[in-house]
Symmetry: C2
Subunit: 220 residues, 2 copies
């Protein structure tokens, strides 16, 4: 019975995710679902992306998902972008319904790119589509190279792996070659960008990746 | 309906957790449920705990929870302790049934302390009791000081917070005072130990904490 209930929940979620996706396509809003363990640097990445101006030609919005607090939303609102904060209370992931609700508070006609920052969790968010064009997973250097093998669905579902906090490489024994090899084992088409929000390494590359994917999807 | 189903699942889990706990008490096995984000250092902590011999007078066993792979179980088996590996496949946490099943493969009559290493996830494992005497949460320095506020249930349910990877303090801007203050805001009786598996800082303190709690519970 538990399995049947889970299947119903996922099917209902897929329906809502498809509706969201149709809405985003109609409005030409390119949507990226950012996922990672807690503390891998999702909010800091968005801060740097906005501060560096690598997407300065695009109108950007953010949906912030957290179990509790508006701390992350406040950090991004300070950078003068529209932010909708979702507090999931007990839910360990965002779902299609939450994103649909959050979008009613956004002016989609005046957005080109929407970032959805999921709840910090390397497991559950991968199971729930929200209508995004691409899922992007962040893995921070201190977390270790074995994570793609231990949490394969997340890396399998993502179009891009951002290896974050590369400034910490000298202080760990992680091998980036091993990270790349492990990620490719579960998803041999995944793109990989190394990035440090502290030094700025990779931020431009990340911006170019978004622009190229947006152009590939919308043609402009 | 979703809420009712969730409540049924949690109530059923509590029943199994209570049965496990009765079994552990009857066998005088002291059980610690280790939880954290992926990559916070649960397996490395157990390796160091065994290698340093801080619990050398106790017979130790480990139940390893991972979605996929036996990588962590193999690391610990190399240290000559009985290890049962659980692969949860899709489940984002361990539950009472999984621990009950795993215990059939352990000789509880010949164990004094059982470590349960949960799935790397700062959210869901906190909701599911497994029969443990204490929940212990690890928060690694690179994850940032805001985590107790953003994932409050995990810190609320835990008896002890281990702040791990303190050797990385010089390379981050985290304030341990802020971590402590945030943890106390959600749980003002939580114990806190700072620890580095790399330098060995705090490992003895951690061992003493376990011995004291075991003695407090079993009287020996």
């Amino acid at each position: 019975m538990k399995v049947q209930v889970l299947r119903d929940i996922l099917e209902f979620n897929d329906t809502l995710a498809d509706q969201n996706r149709s809405m985003f396509d109609a409005k030409k809003v390119f949507v990226i679902n950012l996922m990672s363990s807690p503390g891998a640097g999702k909010t800091t990445l968005l801060e740097r992306t906005l501060e560096e101006g690598v997407l300065r030609d695009y109108r950007i919005g953010v949906i912030e998902g957290d179990i509790q607090t508006t701390l992350d939303g406040e950090r991004l609102e300070a950078l003068n972008v529209p932010v909708v904060q979702i507090n999931t209370a007990v839910a360990c992931h965002l779902d299609g319904q939450m994103i649909s609700n959050a979008c009613t508070a956004l002016d989609l006609d005046n957005l080109d790119i929407l970032f959805i920052e999921n709840v910090g969790n390397l497991v559950c968010p991968a199971e729930f589509r929200v209508g995004e064009h691409h899922k992007v997973v962040l893995l921070s250097v201190p977390e270790g190279a074995d994570k793609p093998l231990k949490y394969p669905l997340m890396f399998h579902e993502s179009s891009l792996l951002l290896i974050t906090k590369t400034d910490m490489l000298p202080y760990t024994d992680i091998s980036l070659d091993t990270v790349r090899r492990n990620a490719m084992r579960v998803n041999n088409t995944i793109d990989i960008i190394e990035l440090s929000a502290k030094t700025g390494e990779g931020i431009t590359h990340w911006g170019e990746w978004i622009k190229a994917k947006r152009k590939a999807h919308f043609g402009t």
